[in-house]
């Protein structure tokens, strides 16, 4: 087992533990912090999968943005509770369905012959840039519009109540 594989397993372990804690704990604050740890571990995984740009964007957007958003929402809706609590409803049914989905996915993964990974492109960042502005130009421009629309939507939803 070389360094890359050990790191992959280590990050994967942190991710799984973080996710488990985030879905099971009763304290919302700790769930969000666990999500933060989960997202950082996933960023590490991205880096190991030769997607260093995606890894840094993950930290930038997810940990530096979405986790912060969730903390703000938590603090603005806690109504004085020090430890906002979130119950877990019908865990048995959820566990069965989740197990079925997971088992199905794992079976699909392990029963197919995956081709070997191709060589990583020499100039990964350049290839990504060329792809974004070349073959994938339409999705790239559209996501700009979607981001604008969602900013306007979020602002108007939150402001609407005040008037």
């Amino acid at each position: 087992m070389d360094t890359q594989e050990v790191l992959f397993v280590a990050f994967g372990g942190v991710a799984v533990l973080g996710a488990l804690y985030a879905v099971a704990t009763r304290s919302l604050l700790r769930a969000i912090v666990a999500l933060g740890a989960f997202l950082t571990a996933i960023a590490g995984e991205f880096y190991l999968l030769a997607a260093d740009f995606i890894a840094v964007v993950q930290i930038f957007v997810y940990v530096g943005g979405i986790v912060v958003l969730m903390l703000f929402a938590l603090m603005l809706s806690a109504s004085g509770k020090r430890h906002p609590l979130a119950a877990v409803d019908r865990p048995a049914l959820g566990a069965v369905l989740a197990y079925a989905v997971g088992a199905g996915l794992l079976w699909a993964t392990w029963s197919t012959e995956l081709p070997a990974a191709g060589p990583d492109p020499a100039d990964a960042l350049g290839s990504l840039g060329r792809a974004l502005l070349g073959a994938q130009l339409w999705p790239f421009e559209l996501i700009g519009l979607i981001l604008l629309a969602s900013v306007i939507a979020a602002l108007s939803i939150v402001r609407g109540e005040r008037q």
């Binding site: 996710a19 919302l28 997607a51 979405i66 996915l105 995956l114 191709g118 990964a124 990504l128 939150v158």
Partner: protein
């Protein structure tokens, strides 16, 4: 080898996220679980990007756009949660049932 490991991790995380989505009652915890599911899918995308035509980087472009969409969804979702909280006084999804659907 790494690809299979990545896909396995993705499957496990997806299952955990699904468990969260199905069992949580608080709206913000639901969002947390949804984010877990989306990240699991993104790992899949990035893992597959290395297999078919690594030069085109389609999987990574998809992953980037997916992260952008997730940010939009989180922003609008949390705005909605706050608006609902102001209206109903609670963030429990089982109490928001005016439409009786």
């Amino acid at each position: 080898m790494m690809t299979t490991a990545a896909l396995t991790l993705s499957a496990v995380l997806f299952a955990i996220g699904v468990f969260g989505v199905l069992t949580r009652r608080n709206a913000i915890s639901l969002l947390v679980s949804v984010e877990i599911v989306m990240n699991a899918a993104t790992i899949n995308l990035v893992a597959f990007s290395r297999i078919h035509e690594p030069e085109a980087m389609t999987g990574q472009v998809f992953a980037l756009l997916g992260i952008g969409i997730a940010a939009c969804e989180a922003a609008v979702g949390l705005a909605l949660i706050l608006a609902v909280y102001r209206r109903f006084g609670s963030t429990d999804v089982d109490t928001i049932d005016l439409l009786r659907g």
